[in-house]
Amino acid sequence: MIKSYKVRRFVTNAFVYILLGGLGLIWISPLVYLVLHSFRDEGLAYVSYLIPQKLSFQNYIDLFTVTKESSMNFPRWFMNTFIVAIFSCIISTLAVMMVSYAFSRLRFKARKPLINIGMILGMFPGFMTMIAIYYLLKAMGLLEMPLVALIICYSAGAGLGYQISKGFFDTIPRALDEAATIDGATRNQIFWKIILPMSKPILVYTVLTSFIGPWTDFILAKIIVGKDIPNYTVAIGLQMLIDADHVLNNFKKFLAGSVVVAVPITTLFLIMQRYYVEGVTAGGVKG
């Protein structure tokens, strides 16, 4: 009896290992393909075989040294994105925390209507307003400062993403607030000194998502920055490298650039993964 149980467990485990291995291979192979071909030395844009014939660092070298001011400047795009990401990350995190704290811990007359308005606004497709945002920024004269405009765009609506962190705050016992109030703390102090320090997972989650946003947006940024290539972010810069005019000579640089963008984000994500999971499970899912 015991033996057959062991055998059965061994067989099922082996089966699971094989399945996981196969699936893992499928999941990771496009990324392996990306990394492998970013080192491809031969050929122009496309090749019709899987493994490159010759590997070299040439694509990466080109990526960082070919910086014609007019058309391609990857180091600058990287810096632009980094600056935009840092600022919009700080502003959006603050906004999200403030809104979700107010909606979760404070009680006031306009609370329910505001929560409902927030939910309603979230149900309109984001692309609907891109043209209007463009004209709004133009009327404000912000298109002359594309990076500032981008920071505003990425962080202005951030407060609407309150649901997950509100869910998280809801799980912190109210008794804490009450005790602090009895000790004479104002709500301002409760927010900064008690709630925020307890919210590390959700804080990290918010920081992470808002930091990654600017690296991946390739629609709004293109509309706002337009032709101003030195002020591109990496996403639209890389996108440009594979449009019809550029793809023949720049596809390999696109692959290399994608790796350069993906590596730091992936590393960051893997390090912070634990918080991400804690934040999202605590806030987004509850019984």
Partner: protein, 505 residues
């Protein structure tokens, strides 16, 4: 059943209980849903009515200083010693009047009330400048700009009315406090309140401001655009109000590639897609998560990382790569299937060929994109399922498949309903997968500016960027909103009975 009884049930029984309630209460809930909508409007108008009633009664009961505040804002406060507050009210009034005279009125005037519904009066053009006698630009009106400023002015007027009413309240309150012989709070005292009892105002002020400017204002603007004729033939020209004509065209089904036909086709596919994408990602993701977390499986972190890495790579990179690999002319996957494994007779046109092949392909790729998220989210909860549930199931002779459907799935469904709703709405709006994989590959002569794999949102995008039919794009946006709102409202109302957000307060 009391709440205390309810929480003692096992998850399975909880689900049964909820399901029973769901069907028993379905008629009642549906009724409630419509009643709630009715109530909302009722309360809205009653609220406005009450506001007005208060507004007039304060005027009648107020003394001369309060009455004067109805004309000179802040007067009541200044007279009674709240100088800073009063001056702020006064400054608001002055600024508002200056704004309206210098800018605002003109924009309202241009909104089409006096020009047969055309926004603006003079068309922009190019011609002979009468002063220099040389050809050049002849300045005209820009409907887009005028409409934007017009909406902005309307918003500013609305905000001003709110402040104005607050001013009358404040003046009357000051009068009452004085009459009762109490001391009026100073400006600093009132400021301090913003860090305690009115802390929500402080917290929400900044986000509300930015959201109003960069989300609500553009949204109002685009909603209005849906009621104009601002399509590709009105670029660089003035456009006019047309009422519901745009919506009428969206539902009209005549001609080769009518909008009506396209709309119906895309709505069908959008719903199929959203259901399949949500359900498949959810179930398959959970299966993989269960396998990773299975007792006796080693290197859990490695397995998880293998899947989760794809979340961190920007989608425009991974999906563009995918479309490259799926290419019919020697993409990596075709090379693998045909040249290496010899499974297929020739190269398969995954994305550009038969619409259903392409549709299946995008769903499969979406599984690749979506499963890691499910793994991330469900891993922790799966661990929380009481082990004895499984053990008793095993003793009863249930295999892994059976126990998944009998235990895991009901438990998870119960716990993760909010996540499912968000991911369903997210999939209705899932732009990246569809657009980056099939951008124009499925375009058809049977559809207007769309292809067979397009969702409503990608159609909206194409209408905006490719054909500059802004009014149609806006109308589609409103329709998408209606679909999403209905779905979430119904599910939200149905699940609401099971949990109470306010229970802790």
């Amino acid at each position: 059943m009391k709440y205390i009884d309810y929480i003692q049930l096992n998850p399975f029984q909880k689900l049964g209980y909820n399901l029973k309630n769901f069907f028993v209460n379905l008629p009642k809930n549906a009724g409630k849903f419509f009643k709630a909508i009715g109530n909302f409007f009722k309360r809205f108008f009653v609220g406005i009515g009450k506001g007005f009633a208060g507004f007039f009664s304060r005027f009648i009961k107020g003394d001369w200083a309060t009455k004067l505040s109805y004309i000179i804002m802040g007067f009541g406060n200044i007279v009674r010693g709240q100088v800073v507050k009063g001056l702020l009210f006064l400054a608001t009034e002055v600024l508002f009047i200056l704004y309206m005279i210098g800018f605002g009125w003109d924009k309202i005037y241009n909104l089409g009330f006096f020009n047969n519904g055309t926004i603006g009066f003079n068309e922009e053009g190019y011609g002979i400048n009468p002063v220099t006698g040389r050809p050049g630009r002849i300045e005209g009106d820009d409907s887009m700009k005028l409409l934007l400023y017009g909406v902005m002015t309307l918003v500013i007027i609305a905000i001003f009315i709110v402040i104005y009413v607050a001013n009358t309240k404040s003046a009357y309150k000051a009068q009452q406090t004085k009459a009762a012989g109490e001391k009026l709070p100073g400006f600093l005292d009132e400021l301090k309140e913003f860090f305690d009892s009115k802390f929500h105002v402080t917290l929400l002020a900044f986000p509300t401001l930015t959201i109003s400017i960069f989300t609500i204002l553009p949204l109002l603007f685009m909603i209005l655009i849906a009621f104009t004729n601002y399509d590709h033939s009105h670029i660089g020209k003035l456009f006019s109000w047309v009422g519901f004509e745009t919506f009428g065209k969206v539902f009209t089904n005549t001609g080769a590639a009518s909008m009506g036909k396209t709309f119906v086709e895309l709505v069908k596919w959008t719903l199929i897609w959203a259901v399949l994408a949500t359900v498949l990602n959810y179930i398959l993701g959970m299966v993989v998560a269960l396998m990773i977390n299975k007792k006796g499986i080693k290197l859990k972190a490695l397995w998880r990382t293998l899947f989760v890495v794809t979340v961190a790579v920007p989608q425009f990179v991974s999906l563009l790569l995918m479309s490259q690999m799926l290419d019919v002319n020697g993409g990596a996957i075709n090379v693998l299937l045909h040249n290496v494994l010899h499974w297929t007779p020739g190269y398969i046109d995954f994305l550009g060929g038969d619409p259903w092949v392409a549709r299946v392909t995008v769903i499969v790729v979406n599984i690749w994109v979506g499963i890691p998220y499910t793994i991330l989210i469900t891993s922790g909860i799966l661990m929380n399922i009481p082990a004895d549930l499984y053990e008793s199931a095993t003793i009863d002779g249930a295999g892994p498949v059976k126990s998944f459907f009998k235990i895991t799935l009901p438990y998870m469904l119960f716990v993760t309903t909010p996540y499912l709703i968000t991911s369903f709405v997210g999939n209705i709006n899932n732009f990246n997968v569809i657009y980056l994989l099939t951008s124009n590959l499925q375009n058809s002569n049977d559809l207007y500016q769309a292809g067979y794999t397009d969702l409503l949102v990608t159609w909206l995008f194409k209408l905006t960027m490719n054909s500059q039919d802004y009014n149609f794009a806006a109308a589609i946006g409103i329709l998408v909103f209606i679909v999403c709102a209905t779905v979430s409202l119904i599910t939200f109302n149905l699940t609401k009975s099971a949990k109470n957000e306010e229970e802790f307060s």
